[in-house]
């Protein structure tokens, strides 16, 4: 009679059979990881498969310390362990005690060979690197439509200068992935975008492998549009990264390289606005200053005012001198009058006061005082060099003379002069009193 057993009893018996069978224990299992789930308990659950079959596997936290890499989907491995039964669910699984990667050595050799070949061709040369456009209208993206890359790029560029995004969906891992990446790059070149971002998220070397395929490298090199690569994590370098015009560590960084920050552009515009306002007001100030200088030089009224002022001063000084100096002292008078127009009024006052008080004193003016006067005069001459052109004395030097009335003021019209009037003629080297014999007004 058949034995009656509970489910638990049965599964417990199966477990014993499995774990006591030498063929199911102490073995190296060859396959590829998929459906990897990392639990917070620290245990990893995944499937190990080959093209024909698959088996559930578990790697407990305690075993994880024995491996020197981080397992990932699509990774080819050799797993050491045994078959066991999970009684509660009635499933059997492979318990991984240790694990090593397989095929990595071969991939690495292929990678190095291609890297050397393309480097020798100059495909990585800095001279080939193109500048990215500053304000791209359209950013082409070649990546998976479901991955983090496109998500990050769309989110990041939303905060940046508005550019259209054109995604050429591509398969970014597995057999034939390189074909869809190449097709994407070529398609975006045909429809015309301003820059292309090509990439995928992090993964195992097998995951990233399409970006180490020669056709992908060649497509990037042949692209007329500048290419930014963003493949895997910051520490991963694929052949695509070497060929690309710019390599970005993350998709977000790629987006930031492709388009500029809106706020930054805004600041730049405002900065230019400030600069142009400043520049315009500076040139207005400059123009005004230039105009005023010209205006003052050109205005006939100003020139006349200036001459009148100087003449008045001259008259004033002349009469003072005349009163101050005795007739005996004409030599001194002459010397002084050639200097008088150039001396400051205050100094003149001082001199005339001294002269007035005593002729003798002036004659004995001590040498120190004269030296002081000479220095002051020299300075004054220097300062007034510009005014000399307008000085009536310059006119006298050229052979003109001018006429002063009895009041010491310049006579500039024949009107008011009548026969017998006494005037003083002022010349380069002295003066002469004269009497008017006749007048005629020119028409």
């Amino acid at each position: 009679m058949s034995e009656r057993v509970t489910v638990t009893e049965l599964n417990t018996r199966v477990r014993e059979v499995l774990s006591s069978n030498r063929d199911l224990n102490d073995i190296w299992l060859l396959g590829e990881i998929s459906n990897l789930k990392k639990y917070s308990s620290g245990h990893y659950y995944f499937t190990i498969k080959d093209p024909g079959s698959e088996i559930r596997a578990v790697m407990f936290r305690s075993s994880r310390a024995r491996i020197d890499f981080e397992p990932d989907d699509a990774m080819k491995v050799e797993a050491y362990g045994h078959v066991d039964m999970y009684v509660e669910r009635g499933t059997y699984q492979f318990v991984v005690d240790s694990m090593k990667r397989s095929g990595v050595g071969e991939l690495y050799l292929r990678y190095e060979a291609l890297r050397k070949k393309l480097e020798a061709e100059g495909l990585f040369s800095q001279d080939r690197k193109r500048k990215l456009p500053v304000y791209p209208k359209t950013i082409g993206v070649v990546t998976s439509p479901t991955g983090a890359v496109i998500h990050d790029i769309i989110t990041t560029t939303g905060r940046l200068y508005p550019a259209d995004i054109l995604l050429a969906p591509a398969q970014v891992q597995g057999e034939g992935a390189w074909r869809s990446i190449v097709a994407g790059i070529e398609l975006l070149n045909r429809v015309g975008v301003d820059v292309i971002i090509v990439g995928r998220g992090g993964g195992s070397i097998e995951d990233l492998w399409p970006f180490n395929e020669e056709p992908v490298a060649r497509a990037i090199a042949a692209s007329r549009v500048p290419v930014i690569s963003s493949v895997g994590h910051e520490t991963d370098f694929t052949i695509a990264d070497f060929v690309a015009d710019v390599r970005a560590a993350t998709p977000t960084a790629a987006a930031q390289l492709a388009v500029r920050d809106k706020g930054e552009i805004r600041r730049q515009i405002e900065d230019m606005a400030v600069r142009m306002n400043k520049a315009l007001s500076a040139s207005l100030v400059r123009m005004r200053a230039r105009f005023e200088v010209l205006d003052s030089k050109l205005s006939p009224k100003r020139a006349k005012d200036r001459i009148d002022y100087l003449l008045m001063k001259l008259d004033d000084m002349s009469s003072k001198m005349a009163a101050a100096l005795s007739k005996k002292n004409t030599a001194m008078h002459r010397r002084l009058s050639s200097a008088d127009a150039r001396l400051v009024p205050a100094l003149m006052d001082a001199v005339s006061r001294r002269t007035k008080s005593s002729e003798g004193t002036f004659m004995r003016l001590d040498p120190a005082m004269r030296a002081v006067l000479d220095t002051k005069r020299a300075r004054l001459e220097k300062v007034s060099a510009g005014l000399d052109a307008l000085s009536p004395y310059a006119v006298l030097e050229r052979g003109y003379s001018f006429v002063a009335g009895p009041d010491g003021r310049a006579v500039t019209s024949v009107r008011g002069l009548s026969r017998g009037a006494v005037v003083t003629l002022r010349m380069r080297d002295g003066r002469a009193d004269a009497e008017i014999k006749d007048t005629e007004e020119f028409r």
């Binding site: 500053v134 304000y135 496109i150 200068y161 508005p162 995004i165 230019m272 600069r275 142009m276």
Partner: protein, 78 residues
Amino acid sequence: MSEDKEGMGFEESMKTLEELVRQLESGELDLDRSLEVYERAVALRDRCRKILDESDRRVQTIMETASGTVRKDFRVDE
């Protein structure tokens, strides 16, 4: 993105604006020319601001099919 009606895109507008500001700063323009350049610069500044404030972007996918390339609006789930 709005294409500029006068034919000058954002990048060109920014470049021209920068060039005009440089000309103004050089101090080599006479008064009439300064004012002319200034007015152009103000117009360009306003245009750049406007493009930046108003333009919107499209996010699309492009695929090759038997009947040619097809574009579709694309949206990622936040």
